[in-house]
Symmetry: C2
Subunit: 242 residues, 2 copies
């Protein structure tokens, strides 16, 4: 018996019509559909792919351990995640070893800040793998905002909002175009870094890009500092445009 | 009569199955399909979308002026392009004003270094526009290479290879992960910048990612310095991975 194939399936930014034709084909035919979700939650990936998952598929939920009581900087946090990824890996390996293909759903693109990567690096030497790239969350957000991001020789920098304020400020200074991911609790820090780097007036805030409840506004017009983790801030480039 | 709608349709990195479901729907139903191509060539965008374009569609070719004899730095180059974009804008405006929707094909993502943007900024105040994001060429390349690009707090920088060598070196030094676009004639310069910034051993070269004739190799293993314009160099991040 030959082993199954692992598919890393990019789901795009949230609109179910923004899956690729290839992603839909794999989801419609894979005998096992695996996805991450917080314990007790339906899971955003599962929700985006829902209309494409056949009733006959075996659904394999990979439920994140509850870690809200542990700070990210605590080694125990890292250890809890490591154990979770190791266990999830073995659950997928069992399916693959039994000859069943597994489609592991991944919001956005599988290899761009994706949870998929943690299982991928543990499985790629053991089983055949196919990656199906997806529309990134940031591309969904800049299309929702109608922001033309990069022109000519523009340099674009992607920054996690989790970085220290000083780092954000320095990197924003050197960027023509910028995307700040993982906004959430980092909002006030990001706002200040944009002010200090001279990009504040051009910055656009996008929440739930391409999904129900989508919000797009100038960052300067946002009165409060509260934002979901997956909100994104965009600064578009101003490069050569004949 | 109401005006037509302009659709900026992202086609993804080259594999026709990497169009999104939404892009296919728009291409299958828009009365006018517009695309850029070099004079006398079928056009890469047209080729990628070919299987989805109905026979009934009116195809509108926007043929780039031949500018190979003019250096990019010559003002005449800019002027030739400006005149071309202005004329292309009016051809699309005629269709839209007559109430016909126009799907303008765009390789990769429409708002990321896309020719689409030059018509978009000229038309967006005059007609309704919908942007359909696409899988970027770089995501197609890193999925083809199986390179997990960004982890945890990694900063990713996207650099056009057309930049001066010193700029490339400096920006590569400050990046955890990097993508170098527009390789072509800039190959030797890019190779040196990767050496000088300490990223050379990790750099991956990808040509025709997701398409027939795809090539993936370590940059250090590439013997010659010749590459097509759309080849991409990838340096993956090494951030937090539990």
């Amino acid at each position: 018996m030959s082993a199954g194939r692992l598919y890393g399936v990019g789901l795009g930014p949230g609109d179910p019509e923004l899956l690729t034709v290839k992603a839909v084909r794999v989801i419609e035919t894979a005998p096992v559909i695996a996805f991450f979700a917080k314990s007790g939650r339906p899971g955003n990936a599962r929700t985006i792919a829902d209309r494409w998952i056949p009733a006959s598929a075996h659904q394999l939920l990979l439920a994140y351990p509850v870690t809200t009581e542990i700070p990210v900087s605590d080694p125990a946090y890292n250890e809890a995640l490591r154990a979770f990824y190791a266990e999830a890996t073995e659950r997928l390996a069992d399916e693959l070893a039994a000859g069943r293909d597994v489609a592991l759903l991944s919001e956005g693109d599988p290899l761009f800040y994706g949870s998929f990567m943690h299982l991928y690096i543990r499985l790629k030497e053991r089983f055949p793998v196919t990656i199906i790239p997806g529309v990134t969350g940031m591309a969904g957000c800049w299309s929702a905002a109608g922001e033309a991001m990069t022109w000519g020789d523009d340099i674009m920098t992607v920054l996690p909002g989790t970085l220290p304020q000083q780092t954000l400020t320095e990197r924003l200074r050197g960027a023509d175009a910028a995307v700040i991911m993982k906004v959430g609790k980092n909002f006030a820090k990001i706002r200040q870094a944009l002010r200090d780097s001279g990009h504040y007036e051009r910055a656009i805030y996008v929440e739930r890009g391409t999904m129900a409840g989508e919000k797009v506004m100038k960052l300067a017009d946002k009165a409060d500092d509260s934002a979901p983790y997956f909100a994104i801030v965009l600064v578009s480039g101003q490069g050569r445009r004949p």
